[in-house]
Symmetry: C2
């Protein structure tokens, strides 16, 4: 009985120690040291080397370390009979809500303008008696719905583009027409979709042309959701106001990339949200125990 932790972008010592102490009967194999792939029943994956699971004949299930499943779906060696799950911890949801609200509030509450006023010793209230802005969500899954709820708590209006109407508190629109409606009706557009062939480059020239001049785009999903050339073009022509980007086609963002110095783009290094290691271990342990009971 063995669990393989194959997470290549961070140190996993603490996670592996927690798993080992909570599952003393299970061998925990920690990437890059996977001496016994033939015993692995569960693999916890993030940024894993494609094909690494093909030498695991006993593999029953894989768990994604985050909300995104694209790295697993793109791996043809994770065959259909292997169960797929993902870790969405409260911390992951909360950190994502923090990130989105940090940037929405910085714009909505005039963070930069007040900094400039302060440097000029200028005392002037910038908040006007205007309707609260609309925060549009592309995707309203485990992360999107949590973030949207927190926006409503703070008085913001929300709309969303989803496959079904499942959230009475967030008006939802569907299909191609619905996508246009959400873009037209939003002041902020938060991308929290899964990445798949249907959503790749969904933020393209046509979609951006539906957005208003005051729209702020916030991409916290995957870099490949955005046609980067189309985004640059619309920003340069004044078609939308700004973009806050946590993810990029190529990460780390190459030094010569035009996004870095663009005055309308805010860049963070794929830092929007991480799971808490204690909560993660708890979920992996719970999933593993459920898996063993079934078999």
């Amino acid at each position: 009985m063995s669990i393989a932790v194959i997470i290549t972008d961070r140190n996993t010592d603490e996670l592996c120690q927690l798993l080992a102490s909570q599952l003393p009967e299970v061998q925990i194999q920690q990437w890059p040291d996977i001496p016994h792939p033939e015993t692995v029943e569960l693999a916890v994956l993030w940024d894993h080397p494609a094909g690494i699971t093909q030498h695991m004949p006993k593999l029953k299930a894989v768990i994604s370390m985050g909300a995104g499943m694209d790295h697993i779906e793109q791996d043809q060696h994770v065959s259909g009979h292997i169960k797929q799950a993902r870790i969405v911890t409260p911390a992951l949801q909360q950190n994502m809500a923090q990130y989105v609200l940090q940037h929405v509030l910085a714009f909505h509450r005039h963070g930069q303008a007040y900094r400039i006023q302060q440097s000029n010793q200028q005392w002037q209230v910038l908040e006007k008696n205007q309707p609260m802005p609309v925060i549009g969500f592309l995707g309203l899954g485990a992360l999107g719905a949590f973030v949207a709820d927190r926006c409503v708590d703070l008085g913001f209006k929300t709309i969303a583009w989803t496959q079904q109407q499942k959230h009475p508190e967030h008006p939802c629109f569907h299909g191609a027409e619905g996508l246009q409606k959400v873009c037209e009706g939003s002041d902020y557009l938060v991308v929290l979709l899964p990445l798949n062939p249907q959503t790749k480059h969904i933020i393209n020239r046509e979609l951006l042309s539906w957005c208003g001049q005051n729209l702020v785009l916030i991409n916290v999903a995957r870099g490949a959701h955005v046609d980067e050339a189309a985004l640059l073009q619309i920003l340069d022509s004044g078609g939308i106001k700004a973009a806050v980007l946590d993810v990029f086609q190529q990460e780390p963002l190459p030094a010569e990339h035009p996004f870095w110095q663009h005055p309308k783009i805010t860049i963070t290094p794929h830092s929007s949200s991480r799971s808490d290691v204690m909560q993660t271990a708890q979920q992996v342990v719970g999933y593993y125990r459920g898996l063993m009971k079934q078999s």
Copy 2:
């Protein structure tokens, strides 16, 4: 039958129109034009000229336009038999939570450091796997409790200094010892107390000496809560990290005031929170109707 709207710091046309349309039988008198003080039964006050109510023999009640009652309590002409109320709308609570979260998140999620990294084309995650910070509240009333709830929703820990333990989800401390405990245990300290002789200059040299070097002070109550000289001294000596100030001893903050150019101080022009005019009118109308029923 008459209502006087005596709000001196903003335009009240819309509020008065809403009141007039919802209470057609009532004369709405709008400051500075109060032709019939002798008919006024209810006065809606904010920054009112002290003593203006002394010519209103039929005055039954006064309403503060915000959470603060200090302007009314300081007016000796508002005698004990006159009822006192205040308007705390959902918008007032939400706007206050937005303001506090905007600044907490800007620090906690490294807003400034990421801006500097971007200008240097630097890709480095600054979020560490650390315990979530503690947001301490001085005062947990209609505004403080709402803001504290929103902080918990986002994963922050909270503690508070209150008169009673009334909020099971926010550990509360009381008295002089309790005040010290909250200061020592907080990473952010949010002042949302009423202003009275007991709380004037509560943020003084002694209290600030209890705070940790990484503490960020956020004052969204009244300028007189803070001993401004003591605050400058502790910031200059590195005793606390930063201060976010929306209120000041003198407003507008005088041009020569040392706060303006202080690198550790963020200044906003008493803009943290305003009520929504529709919600305000609704509450004034409801209060007026209740008042008339009682008499």
